[in-house]
Amino acid sequence: MGSSARKKKEKKRDFKRPKLKVGKARPKSDNFTDTSFKAKAIVLARQSLTTNAPSQSTQFSHHLSLLSSRSSSQRRDSLAYLTTAIASRPVHAPLPQPVSVLLPKINPLILDGSNSVRSQLLKFLNTLPSREIDPHIGHTLLYIRAGLTHLAPDVRSSATDLLLWVIETCPNELVSCTGGWVKTLKCLLTVLHWHAATLTTGKGAAAGANAWSSARAPTLGKEGSEGKLPVKTLNVLAAFLRAGLIEEHGTDADATYSHKWPFPLRYVEAHTLPKRSNAFAHLNLFGPSRDEESEMYVEREERQSIFQKRFHACVSSGVEAAKREGGEVGRAAAGVAKVLVEGMEDYELDR
């Protein structure tokens, strides 16, 4: 046992703390080693003060590679750097890297888990020149569609923002690229829960009556930080339908162009080289065969007909139901209804 006071004291001594006092030097620890020495002279090796700073372009590509970094703050900062680098370049100067290199790196960030990265992403995309994005929009659209139905509500919300951005920058390409019209539309309807099956099989009035109560099936998770997703989605839907169904400003120039050319020349655009990139993509000469959904719908009439065939009924009934809900949602739904009427009126006339 060992009960003597001396032994106890000895044991305790190991765990005693040295007392520190203000204004006095710190007591030296047991294992202190004196490392001071004396020398007659001190010579510094030659040092240069100028450094080889990495060039602008290498920094750019370095930050581009950092976009797939593990830490979200790193991704955000790199994205911010890229944004400023592109925004602050001289006017008419080309991008440091072509869009075809940038976008494959950028696209996965649409589904990024961090909010700040995604908001920074929108800023970055806004700086890109819209003409150069056009040919690559199909691939970006894949990610945006994936974002629209994402499990995390925040990702859904920012994907909606991105879709809005795409509608604004390149509406023609958006609705006419592969799967751009039908799949996107389907996706939007899924998000709104205007599901084709439930609404078309529902017996008209009965379905509407159900929608009255707005007692929707329980959904998983909350609506995220922004709770007004349906309104936003409705607005986007309206914009999207407008882009697809209503004749664009670009094409109504057709008539003016025809006036521009003197008499023997007619429909010159049809005979000149196409301005679109990959003009024969709709022929799909080399890719895997497409079904109805992933088909390209280049012309407005085509889009109208497929819309009439597959979506018109459920969109209009969904709009009716949303209108009855009133409030903000109702107003947004009214906007959709207006576009619907505008877009489809001449199609009805054709028939």
Binding site: P108, S116, Y143, T149, L151
Partner: protein, 755 residues
């Protein structure tokens, strides 16, 4: 940056596994959520298909999770996920080379899951997986696929044999083998077939046909796979069966004991119930008739063609790429086929001639194969030069003892199968070696001698023939057998069985107090078939007392149920006529009647397994008992039983040819010690016998005695009582003593009355 506050519910809810759980509980309510996730899956799949090799996982949700999720809830929404299995198959089919391993595994696993949920059927799954199995480079994927395919085949054959599925898969395998004979892809067909054969899932001739094609392939690996299957597949199957039958035996007695002692709760009761159920199931299984399992050799369609093809392709062919070891395997297979089916491949015997020298590597295997390929329909003049060569090359005074004994053994094995190859000069010459100093040679020569005493005593010298053979020759009972002669088909020892049965019956009747003879009008409840009669009783082996309860005179009624009475009567009448009338009749009469009614027993009854076992036993004892003195009877019986135990289908191995050679080699001291030590167990730990016993008891989980408990008791625990003991008053002390006496009388605290 300030972290956004996240509500607990939100944190929990937003994951796929939670959604999956909720969907499983209430599919209709969560349909919208499912549709969201399904379209999410489709988008991710599109993204993935754009660049399959560089599929990234850095998103919150990977395509892997989504595939998993959709596969798990696919049965709740069959319409929405109709395309899903096809998608997975396409992904796997087109991109299995470049997929990252985890995703690949997930896709395969999901397909199997869909199969389990009956969303896709087995053929679809197997048609999707099998082409990848044979084409992929990745070893891990191959292992996974093989395992999945195998388990799927097993489950779909679990309750009833799924003939359609089996047939389609067998056709696929067969086509795989026959379409390209040079490729090594056929190895998968071999592996799969062998595994399924082992587990008795495929037991039909189609599987054997696959293996036949495999062994006629051009690729060495495939060939050897097929050959090995024929040589070892059936043995493997039997071993697995034995393993599964005696595996995890439940000790009911111990369980009951534990139930009586341990605390009783519902869990324990449930465990007990399940144990009882398994035991019952096992018992039932044991009672079931044994399924007919023909060996692969017997299921071959054209053994003659197969043997010829094998011989000409792999052995006779000079361009064959097989090495000696592989050739030996092929030779074993060919010779077994020839021996078993009594085929005629004449060129096979001249092939052996080259290899029959003592210097040839693995010559004993060649000798064994030669003996195996011999049967009674092989012309003796084909074999004679071979035997002559063996005798010349192996058996001489100059040759080493092992060589001579191996040669003699081989000659004996050949002669057992075809006695006509021997001529008397050679035989007499060889028999002389029984005087050899070397034990191995001596015993081998004696073996040959005893063989020819049985089959051709006239070739031996007079003094070598032995008493019985000489007497038989003189009386003319023994006749020389001609080439191609076959004995009249009969069941050997059937008359013994009949006599034994009669004795049994009479004994029973006397016990019951009836006259020994049974009247034909007597009938009664005896006719009901007792399933216990059918089985061989395992408990009693050779004491005939145990056989009394086998009431074999009861007949199995095979006729239709509506007119069973007249049929039973008829059967009774025939059995009555077949009975031998009186036990006072002399022996000659008995012989005569037995000869007359030779086949009546076999034609009127179905011999049960119990009957057959008894027949075997009677046959053995009859052949031994007559001639030998009682002292040698037992040993002879053992030897005969060992001979009987060797099945006709069993192969002859090189070890049997070498057998006695080990006797001629002088063993070193180290060998002797090793031999003595074998089977003694690990002697590294020196312990007393008591300690060993105790350890064994503890390992079995048995309880300790009170004495042992007292000895082990912690000292500190005894202190209190010790203190109190000192302070007891006289009265108290007396009471304690009395209680002790009382307790010991009762036999412990609770008494020893038992329950």
């Amino acid at each position: 940056m300030v972290k956004r506050k996240v509500g607990a519910l939100e944190k929990i809810d937003a994951n796929l596994s939670n959604l999956q759980y909720k969907i499983r509980r209430d599919p209709t309510s969560y349909k919208e959520d499912f549709l969201n996730q399904h379209s999410q899956y489709e988008h991710q799949r599109e993204i993935f298909l754009q660049a399959p090799s560089s599929a990234t996982d850095d998103g919150i949700i990977s395509i892997r999770d989504l595939i998993d999720f959709v596969a798990h809830v696919a049965d709740c929404y069959p319409q929405d996920t109709a395309q899903f299995p096809q998608d997975l198959m396409n992904i796997l089919n087109t991109h299995h080379e470049e997929l990252e391993p985890e995703l690949r595994e997930k896709v395969v696993g999901s397909l199997v899951l869909l199969r389990r949920k009956d969303i896709i059927d087995s053929p679809t799954l197997l048609h999707a997986l099998f082409p990848i199995l044979i084409s992929t480079q990745s070893k891990s994927l191959r292992t996974l696929l093989f395992q999945k395919i195998l388990s799927d085949l097993r489950t779909s054959n679990a309750n009833t044999t799924n003939h359609r599925l089996n047939r389609t898969i067998q056709t696929v395998l067969y086509n795989l083998l026959t379409s390209d004979r040079t490729s090594s892809k056929g190895l998968w067909a071999v592996k799969l077939t062998r595994e399924l054969w082992k587990r008795q899932i495929w037991t039909d001739s189609k599987a054997v046909e696959i293996m036949k094609e495999a062994s006629l392939a051009d690729n060495e690996k495939v060939v050897l796979g097929g050959i090995r299957f024929f040589l070892g597949g059936d043995k493997e199957r039997e071993e697995l069966e034995d393993e599964s039958s005696d595996g995890e035996a439940v000790d009911m007695g111990r369980l009951k004991h534990q139930m009586a002692i341990n605390k009783k709760n519902k869990k324990k009761a449930r465990m007990m119930e399940s144990a009882v159920a398994t035991v019952k199931k096992k018992e039932k299984k044991k009672k079931q008739p044994h399924p007919l399992n023909f060996s692969a050799f017997h299921l071959l369609h054209d053994p003659q063609g197969f043997a010829e093809a094998l011989f000409s392709k792999h052995l006779h062919n000079t361009r064959s790429k097989l090495n000696l070891e592989q050739k030996l395997l092929v030779l074993q297979l060919v010779s077994r086929l020839v021996g078993l089916h009594k085929l005629t491949v004449i060129s096979l015997y001249s092939y052996f001639l080259k290899y029959l020298t003592p210097r040839q590597p693995a010559v004993t295997s060649f000798l064994a194969s030669l003996a195996q390929a011999t049967h009674n329909l092989v012309p003796p003049d084909v074999l004679e030069p071979l035997v002559q060569k063996i005798a010349n090359e192996f058996v001489s005074e100059a040759a080493a003892a092992e060589v001579a004994s191996a040669g003699l053994n081989a000659i004996r094995e050949i002669c057992t199968r075809q006695p006509l190859v021997m001529n008397d000069t050679l035989l007499q010459d060889l028999v002389m070696y029984r005087k050899s100093k070397d034990k191995g040679v001596m015993m081998a020569a004696k073996g040959l001698l005893s063989l020819y005493r049985e089959v051709g005593a006239d070739m031996l010298k007079k003094r070598d023939r032995g008493k019985e053979a000489a007497m038989g020759l003189r009386s003319g009972q023994r006749k020389e057998q001609r080439f191609g002669e076959e004995g009249v088909g009969e069941i050997e020892g059937l008359e013994l069985l009949e006599r034994w049965k009669k004795e049994e019956r009479e004994g029973q009747r006397i016990e019951k107090g009836l006259p020994a003879e049974k009247g034909s009008e007597e009938s009664g409840g005896e006719d009901e078939e007792d399933p216990g009669d059918w089985e061989v009783d395992e408990a009693d082996t050779d004491d005939s007392v145990g056989w009394i309860n086998v009431e074999s005179d009861k007949e199995i009624d095979i006729s239709d149920s509506d007119d069973d009475k007249p049929a039973a009567k008829k059967a009774k009448a025939t059995s009555a006529t077949s009975k031998v009338d009186d036990d006072k009749e002399n022996a000659e009469d008995q012989v005569a009647t037995a000869a007359l009614k030779l086949s009546s027993l076999a034609t009127t009854r179905i011999l049960t397994p119990a009957d057959l076992a008894k027949l075997q036993e009677l046959r053995l004892s009859a052949s031994i008992n007559q001639q030998l003195p009682a002292s040698q009877r037992k040993r002879a019986a053992q030897q005969a039983a060992a001979l009987q135990a060797r099945h006709a289908d069993d192969p002859l191995t090189a070890a049997e040819i070498e057998g006695l050679a080990s006797l001629s080699k002088k063993s070193t001291k180290a060998d002797k010690i090793a031999l003595a030590k074998a089977g003694k167990g690990d002697e590294s730990v020196h312990q007393s016998t008591q300690a060993k016993r105790k350890e064994k008891k503890e390992a079995l989980g048995k309880s300790t005695t009170n004495k042992e408990k007292a000895r082990k008791k912690n000292f500190m625990m005894t202190l209190g009582k010790g203190k109190a003991k000192g302070k007891r008053s006289l009265v108290e002390q007396g009471r304690v003593l009395k209680a002790h006496v009382e307790r010991s009388k009762r036999g412990g605290k609770r008494g020893n009355k038992g329950k």
